[in-house]
Amino acid sequence: MSDASIVLVVLAAGTFLLKSAGPLLLGARRLPSSLQGVVDLLPAALLASLAIVSSVGDARSIVLDARIVGIVVAGLALWRRAPFVLVIVLASAATALTRLVT
């Protein structure tokens, strides 16, 4: 077996355990309401960090480049209540345009 295949098997098995632990162990059981209050807030932290890290992160450094223009345009579009698809198109176009002219 090649190295890539060994990593594939290990990574796939480990990842599946991580992905399925919640649904398999908790099932549709309701969490106590105080804990549920915390869980309800997790997506806000996760979505914010995913958005910002992929906007300014580059491996282990912070890089401010054309992506910033895109994410700011996305913010403006959202503020103007633009639909989801348009937000993404405008953000990508703004970043592409910035790269073109700089």
Binding site: L26, G27, G37, L46, L47, S49, L50, A91
Partner: protein, 244 residues
């Protein structure tokens, strides 16, 4: 099939899922190309996309292997990037009920995108629907584009940058976050999460900042006692009108 939610909600979720899926496609092509460059076979490349199914961890593992890294380093880096799916699982679990095998099957779709669409609604049926359309859409497209990228592309990385598509993901996450920000507690947590994540980027392995950002829920304590937030505010502002 539940019939409680209006079709409009499902249409909105489908539209979100389609945009997110489209945003993922170029990255699938890049992954396929990267796997080919790293010396994987086509079966291994598609195997990663089918069985690991987690963009950042696949990239990390394949990149480390391509650079001559050890099996342990590649597997560990990949796993570390997927630890957050444990949290996603806890968040999504109430919406993913059913027989054991069904829950296991649905869990395979537990990624950033499916969780993001899944948490864009309040009621469990809509959350499940959003999770499944988002997850299945990305799953199908990710695997197909992996194959296409492996067979047909190299240098696809330039294409992504030229078209500004590297900002499509972050923009989508911001758009999904946006409606939550109307709630003060959610806003505080989002800002704190962003600050925690960004400040850790220079010091930790990729993936750790996202994980650590979850500690930001503690910041909500400053605003008030724990209680299930009223998520009704969190869904309807999203994306403005669903029609264009």
């Amino acid at each position: 099939m539940q019939v409680i939610e209006p079709d409009a909600t499902r249409r909105r979720l489908r539209r979100m899922a389609i945009s997110i899926t489209a945003a993922v496609a170029p990255f699938g092509i890049v992954f396929g190309a990267a796997a080919s460059t790293a010396g994987l076979s086509v079966w291994e490349a598609v195997g990663y996309s089918l069985f690991v199914f987690g963009g950042s961890s696949q990239f990390a593992a394949v990149e480390i292997l391509g650079d001559g890294g050890s099996v342990a380093a590649a597997a560990l880096a990949g796993l570390l990037l997927n630890v957050r799916s444990l949290a996603f699982g806890v968040i999504m679990a109430p919406a993913l009920g059913g027989a054991l095998w069904k829950r296991a099957a649905m869990s395979q779709l537990m990624i950033d995108e499916s969780t993001a669409v899944g948490t864009a609604s309040d009621d469990l049926a809509s959350r499940r629907y959003g999770y499944l359309v988002g997850g299945l859409g990305v799953f199908v497209v990710w695997n197909l584009t992996t194959l296409v990228g492996f067979v047909a592309f190299s240098g696809a990385g330039d294409l992504i940058e030229d078209l500004g598509l590297d900002v499509a993901g972050p923009a989508a996450f911001l758009a999904l976050l946006w409606p939550r920000l109307a709630d003060r507690r959610q806003l505080v947590v989002a800002v704190a999460g962003a600050v925690v994540a960004v400040s850790l980027v220079p010091f930790t392995a990729p993936g750790v900042p996202i994980l650590a950002s979850m500690s930001a829920v503690m910041a909500a304590r400053a605003v008030g006692p724990w209680r299930p937030s009223a998520p009704s505010e969190a869904s309807d502002l999203s994306g403005g009108q669903s029609g264009e």
